[in-house]
Amino acid sequence: MTEVTESLGWWGLPIAILAGAIRASTPFLLVSLGECITEKSGRINLGLEGVLMMGAMAGYGASLYTGSAWLGVLAAGVVGAALGLLHGILCSLKRVNDIAIGISFMLLGTGLAFFLGKSLIQPQAPTLSSIPFGFWSDSPQIQSALQINPLFLLGIVLAVLLHFAFLRTRWGLRIRIVGDSEDAARAMGFRVVPTRIMATVFGGFLAGVGGSFLSLYYPGSWSEGLSSGQGIMAVALVIFARWEPLRCLWASLLFGAAGALGPAFQAMGLTSGFYLLNALPYVLTLVILILTTAPNRKISGAPGELSLVRQ
C-alpha cells in the first residue's frame, strides 16, 4: 500500500482505501452472512468473536501441518461449525439465554485459541494467494491494489446465493418462518429447534472461515491480537443490513473502508491521530446502529422471534 500512495500522490488515497476496504471487509462479510442466517432463524450468536479467533487459530494450524492453506480454511470452518453446534444445542435448553451463552463463548473461544495457538506464533504457514485482477493495467500501483483475495469473491457469491435461497428455496422459507413465528412454523410442520441449531452451525462455519482469512491472508499470521472486535461488529452490521444478505455485502465494504482509513493515512505519513482513527469502525458501527434503530417500533425486516430487537 505504501508504494501505491507514494507514486500516485493524493490519488493514491482513494485507491489505497478501496484496496484496503476490500481486504478489511472480507472477515466482516463472511461473519455477517453467517450471523444473518443464524439471526433469521430467531437466534443470536454473540460468541462469534470467540469463533473467529478459534477459526483463525485452527486455520493457521491446519495450514501449517497439511501444507495447504485451503485445507486450513476448511478446518477453520469445521471448528467454527462445531462451536456453532454447541451454541445451538445449549441455547435450545429451557431457560438458557442465548445472549449470555454468546458472551461465555466469546471468552471460551478466545481463551482456547490463545491456549492452543501458543506454539503457532513463531512458524510460518502457507497462506492464501490472491487473484490478480489488475492485469489489464500497466500501472503497478493499480495492479497491486487489485490483488483480490479469493475469500472475498467467495463471500460475494455466497451473498447472492443466500439472497435467492431466502426468497426461493424451501430451506430459506423454513428459516424465515422459524425466525418470524414459532407458532406459524409449528403450524406448517417445520421443526423449530433443529432448524435453529442448523442455522447456528452454518453461522459458526462462516465465522470460522472469516477467522481463517485473518490468519491466512491478512495479516497472514497467527497472533493473539489478531481480531479487534470484528466478530461483534459483524453482529451489529447484520442489524444495519436489516437481515438482507446483499445489504450485508455493501455494509461490509463500508465497514472495511472505515477500517482501512487508519492504515491508509498512516501510510501517507499522517500518524498523529492513528489511535483515534483506529476507533473509527466502532464509532461508525454505533452511529449506524443509532440511525437504524428506533424506540417503540420494530426495525423493518427484523425476525419476529429475535430477542435482540424485542423490547
Binding site: 443470536i44 442465548d98 445472549i99 471468552l107 471460551l108 473461544g109
Partner: protein
C-alpha cells in the same frame, strides 16, 4: 421442627446446589482438557489452589486481584437488576482510569486525601457517563445495550491508548507511555498489617451498599419491577427511562471507580497495562454470582485466586497464561447451561412458587 428447617433450607439449597454441581462438572471437563494436552489434572488443580489460596502471600495477591473484580462484577450486576446485559466494563475502567489520572495530576499539590477523593469521584463519574450512554441509547433509541456497551468499550480503550501516546503523555515516560504520575505521597496505601490496598475495602463496601439498597429499599423493588416488566412498571407510575439510565450509570460508576483505584493504588499513572481484562472477568463474576451483589464478593475472590494462580502455572508447568482463561470459560458456559436445571427438581419445592431471577427473566429466545 424438621419441617421448619426444611422449609427454610430448601429454597436456598437449589440456587446453591445446582451451581455447585455445575462447578464440579466444569472441573471435570477442564481436567479432561488438561489430560488431553498431556498434563496431570491433579497437579494443575493443586497449583491452582497453591497459587490462589495456598499461602498468606498468595492469598494477599489474590485479594489484590479480587478488588477490581468486585467492582467490575457490580458493573454487570447492577444494570442486570433493571433487565440489562451491559458488558463494556473494560472500556469504562479504561476511561475512568484515564480521567482519574488526569485529576490526580491536577490535584497533586494538595493534600493526599483530596487527591484520592478527587480521583475516585472523577473515575466514578466518567464510568457512569460511559455506561449511562448505553442505557440512554437503549431506552431512547432502542439500540441493544449489550452491543453498544461492547462498542463503547473498544472506543474507551482506543481513547486511553490515544491519550497516553499523544496529548496526555508524560514526556518522561519513554519505554512505557503513560500519563504524568500522581506522586508517591498521594497513592492509596495498604490495609494495616496486609499487603493489600484499601481498594478491597472500597469494593466490599460498594457491594454491601448495592446489596442493601437492592434488597431492603424501594429502589431495589422499583428496579426489579422495571427489569421484570417495563410496561407494567410504567403503568404503576415508575419513570422507566430514568431507572434504566440510572441503573446503567451506577454500574458504570463501579467500573470507573475500579479504574481510578487501579491508578491510585497500583500504577500511580494511567498506562496501557490498566487494560488487563478485569472488565471481562467481571462479566463472569456477575453471571456466576447470579447478579447478586453480595455473592459478587466471594466469586470475585475465587476468580482473583484463579487469575493469581495463572503465573504459577506458567512457571511450574510451562503452561500458557491462557490456561486460566480456558478454565474460566468452561466454568462460565457450564454454569449458564446449568440454569436449565433450576426449577426442574420437585425435591427442592416445598410448595411455594419460586421467584424469577433478575437478568434471566429479560431476554429469552
Amino acid at each position: 421442627m424438621y419441617a421448619g428447617i426444611k422449609r427454610f433450607l430448601l429454597p436456598i439449597a437449589e440456587p446453591v446446589l445446582v451451581p455447585t454441581g455445575a462447578v464440579l462438572v466444569a472441573m471435570l471437563l477442564f481436567a479432561g482438557f488438561i489430560a488431553l494436552v498431556g498434563q496431570s489434572p491433579p497437579e494443575v488443580f493443586w497449583i491452582l489452589y497453591q497459587g490462589g489460596f495456598g499461602s498468606s502471600f498468595s492469598l494477599q495477591n489474590t485479594l489484590v486481584l479480587a478488588s477490581p473484580l468486585i467492582l467490575t462484577g457490580l458493573a454487570v450486576a447492577i444494570p442486570a437488576q433493571a433487565g440489562m446485559v451491559i458488558i463494556g466494563g473494560e472500556g469504562a475502567l479504561a476511561v475512568g482510569a484515564l480521567l482519574a489520572a488526569v485529576a490526580g495530576y491536577a490535584l497533586h499539590d494538595t493534600a493526599p486525601f483530596i487527591v484520592q477523593l478527587g480521583m475516585l469521584t472523577v473515575g466514578a463519574l466518567t464510568g457512569a457517563l460511559w455506561f449511562g450512554l448505553s442505557g440512554w441509547l437503549r431506552n431512547y433509541r432502542g439500540v441493544n445495550e449489550t452491543i453498544s456497551s461492547l462498542l463503547l468499550s473498544y472506543m474507551g480503550i482506543a481513547l486511553l491508548n490515544y491519550c497516553i501516546q499523544g496529548p496526555l503523555r508524560d514526556p518522561a515516560s519513554t519505554n512505557n507511555p503513560s500519563t504524568r504520575p500522581i506522586g508517591d505521597a498521594n497513592m492509596i496505601g495498604n490495609i494495616p498489617g496486609l499487603d493489600v490496598h484499601y481498594g478491597l475495602i472500597i469494593g466490599i463496601v460498594c457491594a454491601l451498599i448495592a446489596w442493601f439498597v437492592l434488597k431492603f429499599t424501594t429502589i431495589g423493588l422499583a428496579l426489579r419491577a422495571v427489569g421484570g416488566n417495563p410496561r407494567a412498571a410504567q403503568m404503576a407510575g415508575l419513570r422507566v427511562n430514568i431507572w434504566v439510565v440510572g441503573a446503567a450509570a451506577m454500574g458504570g460508576a463501579a467500573a470507573g471507580l475500579s479504574g481510578a483505584i487501579e491508578v491510585a493504588a497500583v500504577h500511580g499513572d494511567a498506562n496501557s497495562a490498566i487494560v488487563a481484562g478485569y472488565g471481562f472477568t467481571g462479566i463472569l463474576v456477575a453471571f456466576i454470582a447470579r447478579q447478586n451483589p453480595l455473592a459478587v464478593i466471594p466469586v470475585a475472590i475465587l476468580f482473583g485466586g484463579i487469575d493469581a494462580a495463572g503465573s504459577l502455572l506458567q512457571r511450574r508447568l510451562d503452561m500458557p497464561d491462557a490456561t486460566v482463561i480456558v478454565f474460566q470459560g468452561i466454568l462460565f458456559v457450564v454454569i449458564l447451561a446449568s440454569d436449565t436445571f433450576l426449577g426442574r427438581f420437585r425435591f427442592f419445592k416445598p410448595g411455594a412458587a419460586s421467584e424469577p431471577k433478575p437478568g434471566t427473566a429479560g431476554a429469552k429466545s
